[in-house]
Symmetry: C2
Subunit: 338 residues, 2 copies
Amino acid sequence: MGGDNAPQTIVEGVETARDEFLDVEFVLYGDRAQIDPLIHNTERITLVQADEQIDMNDEPVRAIRRKKNSSMVMAATAVKNGEADALFSCGNTGALLAAGLLLVGRIKGISRPGLVSTLPVVSSDNESFNLLDSGANADSKAEQLYQYALLGKYYATSVRGIKEPRIGLLNNGTEPHKGSKLNLEAHKLIAADKSINFVGNVESRDLLDGVCDVVVADGFTGNAVLKAIEGTASSVMHLLKNTIMNAGVSGKLGALLLKSSLGQIKSKMDQSQYGGAVLLGVKAPVVKAHGASDGKTVYYTIKQIKSMIDGQMLPNFTEYFSAQQKQAQASDSENAEK
Amino acid sequence: MGGDNAPQTIVEGVETARDEFLDVEFVLYGDRAQIDPLIHNTERITLVQADEQIDMNDEPVRAIRRKKNSSMVMAATAVKNGEADALFSCGNTGALLAAGLLLVGRIKGISRPGLVSTLPVVSSDNESFNLLDSGANADSKAEQLYQYALLGKYYATSVRGIKEPRIGLLNNGTEPHKGSKLNLEAHKLIAADKSINFVGNVESRDLLDGVCDVVVADGFTGNAVLKAIEGTASSVMHLLKNTIMNAGVSGKLGALLLKSSLGQIKSKMDQSQYGGAVLLGVKAPVVKAHGASDGKTVYYTIKQIKSMIDGQMLPNFTEYFSAQQKQAQASDSENAEK
């Protein structure tokens, strides 16, 4: 029920995905009266009535605690109870993150789940990069940034099929001695883990050039960088359009001749093909697509979720972090014996 | 001597500015043998020999302390001694910031000087906005962000002639309760000062749309956002160029028809007309223009420095912060008497 064009575009995307992915089943939570007439074919689509709805003005944690019959809480509860494998919404981001943390629950050993976003590498045809934390936490610790490097690595491997993803740490200079206290500490932790293909510090100006596959940042800076990239791309495209519109007859003719080129640029910068933002570090994929998502974005996001599940991302996370915990416990008790 | 095209472009810009601003005198520090032949007319230009030079690989603080005969240290010392009113360089940014802090010196009452950058408002014809701290400090306190709001206010008034500049706080949401601990605290301090026209939290995606005149940020996030905006604008323009080049005959014809429009966009995004980044909170303007600056940028930066001096920015800073200090001391001793 969440998003600007729900439930229409959700149903569209689900039906396209259902037709392509024959092993996927869908459970839609929401207002049956609104959703039912939109479905063309109910094959592998179950509709569950939800009497309430969390809207954009709801305070996230409060809404998750109080609105037990909302589509979001009901869907998250189904994931918690093992009745569904992943949670997907185009609604209130804060509420979805709260549902992920409070209902789906953290993986043992993870300090703070982080949100991973996917952005285009502009200089290449079909590359992209991941940024996390892109906004789940406003305050972060070095240990958490280190965990984001690990989570990002497994994500890039499962979903994008990159064998040894290049992990970079977002910083205000590329030299190892640069940065805030937080980043200096995180740099040491990540560099010390030889299982990570760490390319060191990266600057935000080089991200769209594909300087690495996964960029680790604290959630405050990551969010600011994500929105700066989105805002700048949109402003420049807007400026281009306006300038052409005001360029008279020759401008319009030029634009006509360049129509397909300009369309290519727009589609390159269009993030819908990269799916949604994923809360990593919880027990199942919890995925947020943009409120303005169309059916295509919904379809791509389902494809992205399928990759996470097919790529065994969650079992890999869980195994890794529980092994780490056991190791830490063993070394603790060893130290205690000494 | 600093920058990719020094001393050629520096001399070009200085001569243009000298011809326009008849009350400005210039002292150039550097290698006389290189600079002298470039000067067409020595009117109001004094050349002082500097035997050393700080280059891009020098460690900033160490270079300022050791290279006493470098052009940067000699120029900063002249400002310190009152022989010059402002310090301008296209060289090593870190070294220039260190020269500002260690030689020119902080204004009494200022905790940490911050770097202010100027960026275009894309949706308007000739508007711009200021971002500070854009990278002088990697770690900040709330009190420092509050001082940036004040410094930014005086800067926008002096240099850009804005009577009551709209000050925004960079955050990951516009609601007052959003943000990191640092930002929540800074928000309270800024909002409590009624001399500031505070528009509240602003998001990085809205900056190029002119959501405010001055954006306050911690130096780590400010730097990341600045570089994300620069990098994205440059990537999109690059993508545009490549796509058009690959679009065959019709693409080339279209580009020809749109030549002046595309030129307009490039010039809009070109930051040279906005001058350099200024270290605010030190006793004189300390200004850094891009290493790749051409003569035009050098000229604009001198114009910008002249506005700071004509607009009485420094006397205003000093008066304000010393009055604040006296007030704080008075209330301290009052409390002590109780």
